[in-house]
Amino acid sequence: MKYYLIIFSLFIMLFPVWADNEDLVSKTADQAITAYHNKDYDTALTHFLYLENNNIINADLFYNIANCYFRQSQIGKAILYYKKALKVDPAHQAAASNLKFILTLTKDKIDTPENGALSRFLLRLYHSFDLNKAALFTAVLFFILIILLILLQTVFQNRDKSLPIFLIFLVVILLVISATISYLKYQNFHSASDAVVIAQTAIGYSGPGVEYTRVFTIHEGMICQIENTNDDWMLIKLPNGIGGWVQTNLLEIVKIKEN
């Protein structure tokens, strides 16, 4: 009886304690949505950002923040938050289509590589579920595997084992794939490798300092990869492969805040 109690208390402890704040959250969200309806995007943004600062990680929230920024013509910030929303939930349809639309408004044309039909299908499949669904799937497969192993020892102890062994083989393969996908998604969730230009223009230099040669000029909304960071400078790589050092304050990293 004692053990049950310990497990139960552990269970309670593991969940973020939001029970008290639930009211506050829904109240703030309601205020923000009302403000947005009234086209008071400033107020809406303040409320939404308050929620974000209170460690709420939610794709819908990031999506709404992005919409507020877009209404204020801050394309860079909008792109950043759409990317954040997609990071939390890669299957967020609204965020994906809004991002696609807003990217056509950036000054720099960003070419996305054309993929073949198969890789497009696989990519869509990969983005069609979030990290926790992958984790759940992995756990279920693991559970099935254990059950099968137990059955192999008990029910099939003195019988023909070819069927359970085949099933085990199948489940192991699926488990490896599922675990790999989960790991990749987990890595992506915690990664901070992408950045978005939030300033009007950013100049890329050949080294960390304005005294170096100018390499390129990019504009607000450009998505680039972070290769290296210095105190005030960041080495970024553009989609076309060109690299350059850009001042850190001109960019913002697509990153989910850890609480």
Binding site: L10, A29, N55, A59, T104, L131, N132, I146, T154
Partner: protein
């Protein structure tokens, strides 16, 4: 004896050879030659060692150019008074062409051999202008009646004539120069020796013969074999007097046989044209601003492929200059920048005839309309100087009006490739009215997830352990019996206790059955074994002697009480119960072997 003779001859030969002197002489074929002729200068070396001397090196000769050397040698052997003499004569024949007229001398040449010097004589020559080559006898006798037949000079019978279209051209005006060969001889082969360099001109080769092709023509009543040697189109690039060097040809002529004993032979002559002198006039002043040096006579045509367009459509704009003149350095004014019309780099093609003077130059632009509206391509000027009319002419291309309408294609400025963007919608989607906003937390970050997985995993070893135990139990009957033994003993002991309390004689039955069953199970012997077997097995398996004795006593007492008449005594039951308990306690404590 024979050996000695051979040796003597050998020595003699050697002595002769040592004693033999070289004779070196030099001579020429003529002492008076024309500037266009070739002098044959021969050095002859004779003597037995003449073979051993290499080709003499001719020093740099003043007034002559060395054209090459040919070598011939002859040997003779004579026997004089029974002794053997050999003599070799080597001839080195140099072909020298004079470079200036007047008196020229060929200095003496020294040849050194075996520390001895041999000198040739000094030769004095007189070089006259033109050709002093004596006319060889003609192989052809068909021209016998011609008046010039009697001319003894080569230059009257074979010469190069020049045709020039204009000796007094304007700068950049095209001039055609043609060289023709006229010959009364049977020419067997021809080769260019020196071509004029045309310094001060832009030169284009118009015609060069690829094989010898002589044709008979009548020139001033005389019959000649003629051939066009070369045609150039030249464009003077500087003004003033410009001299052009003569064209020189090497001609092989077949000569007539002089008598029936000698065949006709072939002789090589060098013939040259007259030099040319041009007086190039400067272009008159007053050239239009766009004049870029075109001289000749030109026409200008222009065209566009379409005037009604949609945004994103392309059309071609063509400029064409045709006529006669200096096409190679012809420039057309470049188009001015027209907003919203993108002119791609033009494609220029020239279609110029073999004369390099007549032709057509085409400039084709591909133009892309970028915005809707009305645009015009302006008229472009093209100026040239017409030497025939002696004035500058300015031509103008046509003006074109273009009507560009809104099209389906969107032109994206600033990119080289025209990409059309498919818009997802005209605006972003609306916000999502989610008021719950539960926070996303990756399960991988929660301990619960891993705990769950661990619990799932743990069920595997637990099951394995359980299964192992199960099979162990199922496979071990003795273990089952031992386990059962305690249960049986408990049951009988309980029964015995009840009988004891009621002082029932069945107490002994219960005690005996209990003990017997317990011990047979415990000691792994068959049920219903006799008392002796149980006792001996108990002893064997290591129960203590006292215990075995007690068990034995207990069994005896039970037997007595149950089967002997009057064996059951109520007063004994108390002690027997106590001793039974004692036995059971002791058995529980005892360990048996092999377990």
């Amino acid at each position: 004896m024979k050996k000695i003779i051979f040796l003597a001859i050998f020595i003699l030969l050697a002595v002769f050879a040592m004693a033999d002197d070289l004779q070196v002489t030099a001579y020429v074929n003529r002492t008076t030659i024309g500037i266009n002729d070739i002098l044959q200068y021969t050095i002859e070396i004779s003597g037995s060692d003449a073979d051993k001397i290499g080709t003499p090196n001719l020093p740099q000769l003043d007034g002559f150019k060395n054209q090459g050397v040919s070598t011939s040698s002859s040997s003779s052997y004579t026997m004089t008074n029974g002794s053997f003499q050999s003599s070799v004569t080597k001839k080195y024949q140099y072909s020298l062409s004079p470079t200036r007229t007047g008196s020229i001398s060929i200095p003496s040449i020294t040849i050194k051999y075996k520390k001895k010097s041999y000198k040739t004589g000094n030769i004095k020559l007189n070089v006259v202008p033109g050709s002093n080559e004596p006319a060889p006898a003609r192989a052809s006798t068909r021209n016998n009646n011609s008046p010039a037949e009697n001319s003894g000079k080569l230059s009257d019978n074979i010469f190069i004539e020049i045709q020039v279209s204009n000796l007094n051209p304007y700068q950049n005006e095209s001039v055609e120069v043609t060289y023709n060969l006229f010959s009364k001889y049977d020419v067997t082969s021809l080769s260019f020796k020196e071509e004029p360099s045309f310094i001060g001109f832009w030169k284009e080769d118009v015609f060069t013969p690829n094989r010898m092709n002589l044709q008979r023509t009548n020139r001033n009543g005389e019959l000649y074999n003629t051939m066009k040697l070369k045609t150039y189109a030249i464009f003077p690039s500087q003004t003033g007097e410009i001299k052009v060097d003569p064209l020189k040809m090497d001609v092989d002529i077949r000569t007539e046989s002089r008598n029936i004993w000698s065949f006709g032979s072939t002789k090589t002559y060098t013939i040259a044209s007259k030099p040319l002198s041009f007086k190039v006039k400067e272009l008159p002043p007053g050239a239009p601003a766009d004049f870029s040096g075109a001289v000749g006579n030109f026409q200008l045509n222009s065209s566009v492929s379409e005037t009604q367009l949609k945004v994103g459509d392309s059309f071609t704009y063509t400029l064409e200059i045709s006529g006669r003149g200096n096409f190679s350095n012809l420039n057309i004014a470049t188009l001015p920048e027209i907003n919203h019309l993108r002119f791609l780099d033009p494609e220029t093609s020239s279609d110029i005839t073999a004369s390099k003077v007549n032709g057509k130059k085409t400039i084709r632009y591909l133009v892309v309309a970028q915005e809707p509206g009305n645009f015009s391509i302006p008229s472009l000027p093209f100026s040239y100087f017409d030497p025939g009319r002696n004035k500058y002419v300015t031509l103008r291309s046509d003006k074109y009006a273009l009507d560009v309408k809104e099209g389906d294609n969107i032109y994206i400025p600033g990119t080289t490739s025209q990409a059309s963007i498919h818009l997802e919608g005209s605006d972003i989607g609306f916000i999502i009215e989610n008021r719950v906003m539960s926070s996303f937390k990756p399960w991988f970050d929660s301990i619960l997830y891993w705990l769950l997985l661990f619990v799932i995993f743990l069920s595997l070893p637990i099951t394995t352990l359980l299964m192992k135990r199960h099979t162990q139990i199922a496979g071990d009957m003795d273990y089952q019996r031992q386990k059962r033994a305690n249960r049986v003993l408990k049951k009988y002991l309980k029964l015995a206790t009840e009988y004891y309390k009621s002082a029932n004689p069945d107490f002994y039955y219960a005690a005996q059955s209990g003990l017997e069953n317990y011990l047979t199970d415990k000691l792994k012997i068959a049920r219903g074994s006799r008392k002796d077997q149980i006792i001996s097995q108990a002893t064997h398996l290591g129960y203590s002697k006292e215990l075995v004795e007690k068990i034995n006593l207990m069994f005896n007492k039970c037997n007595e009480a149950r089967f002997m008449p009057g064996g059951f005594l109520k007063e004994n039951i108390q002690t027997d119960y106590a001793s039974l308990r004692d036995i059971v306690a002791e058995i529980a404590k005892s360990r048996i072997k092999g377990k």
